[in-house]
Symmetry: none
Subunit: 151 residues, 2 copies
DNA sequence: CCCAAATTCATACTTTGGTATGAAAGGAAT
DNA sequence: ATTCCTTTCATACCAAAGTATGAATTTGGG
């Protein structure tokens, strides 16, 4: 709606390029295989143009999804600690451990399910608690459920 | 990495179109202004191609954003399942302890808040875990939240 | 009043949780 | 190639959780 300038810009570029091509044709038509050159050139140019155009138009879709991001902000307004969220950038493994931890599994059970040693789970859990800024798995469970960190 | 076919397909299409344009040129070059026609045609074709290509390549980003959508939906109204709680037969005090336990508080913190000794809390917690048929406070928290026993 | 249940507290003990530290191996980015 | 991050594991140590048992006090109902 408010992006008419896209079409205008595209039309203008089209016109300019057509004139450019006309000029190229007038200058190089004396040689035969010059045609392929500027056709290929035009193809590349317009492919790039189409790609740029599509990327601009698709970026609008991303912005539409960003509206759903604002719903996240709404949750943040309801009590999500943005600073905590940034600190909570879990690694892939840590998130796996967290999912089981939140289900109430003990370290030994998590180790068994992920085929890892108890030491490894202890390390992961310790790092998770640090990243979540809590001092016990009980608080981690409560916080994770409250902030909807896991499903 | 595993999308080499994109480039291959693009190259093939480019070749085909160049040959097509060559044929158009051979057929319509007798007339002068036919040049603008197939140049415009080529422009449109390659613009569309570029757009399609870009849309295919960019479609991934949109999916990445959608993941954050799942974090959003949270505002579900949560009520207490009285029946689930009655099945556990908690005493008044036990329920008080349970409410704090589910919030992730440690035994010491619960004792402090209820003005009771640590021993008393341990007794209550132990009885709560027995009544809930779980073996750790972590599982108790998970179960209580899943069955909506507390607020 | 008496009984049963609830509440409180303690002591001792075992298990689990959590921290600190170090180290080794593999992957990815510069 | 080197550096950084992740993942893995180990050992040691301290704190917290959980169990078992016993006991004193309170409370509500028959």
């Amino acid at each position: 709606m408010k992006h008419y300038w896209h079409i205008i810009l595209y039309g203008s570029l089209l016109a300019v390029l057509v004139f450019l091509l006309k000029w190229l044709q007038w200058k190089f038509l004396v040689t035969d295989n010059a045609v392929e050159i500027y056709v290929g050139l035009a193809a590349l140019l317009f492919t790039a143009l189409g790609g740029w155009l599509a990327s601009r138009l698709i970026s609008r879709r991303v912005q539409t999804v960003v509206i759903e991001k604002e719903v996240v902000r709404t949750v943040a307004a309801d009590g999500i600690d943005d600073e905590a969220r940034r600190k909570c950038q879990f690694s892939a493994r840590e998130y796996e451990v967290l999912e089981l931890l939140v289900k109430g599994y003990s370290n030994a059970e998590i180790a068994e399910q992920l085929f890892l040693s108890l030491s490894t789970i202890k390390t992961h859990v310790s790092n998770i608690l640090f990243k979540m800024d809590v001092k016990s798995r009980a608080r981690a469970i409560e916080k994770a459920k409250r902030l909807k960190i896991t499903r």
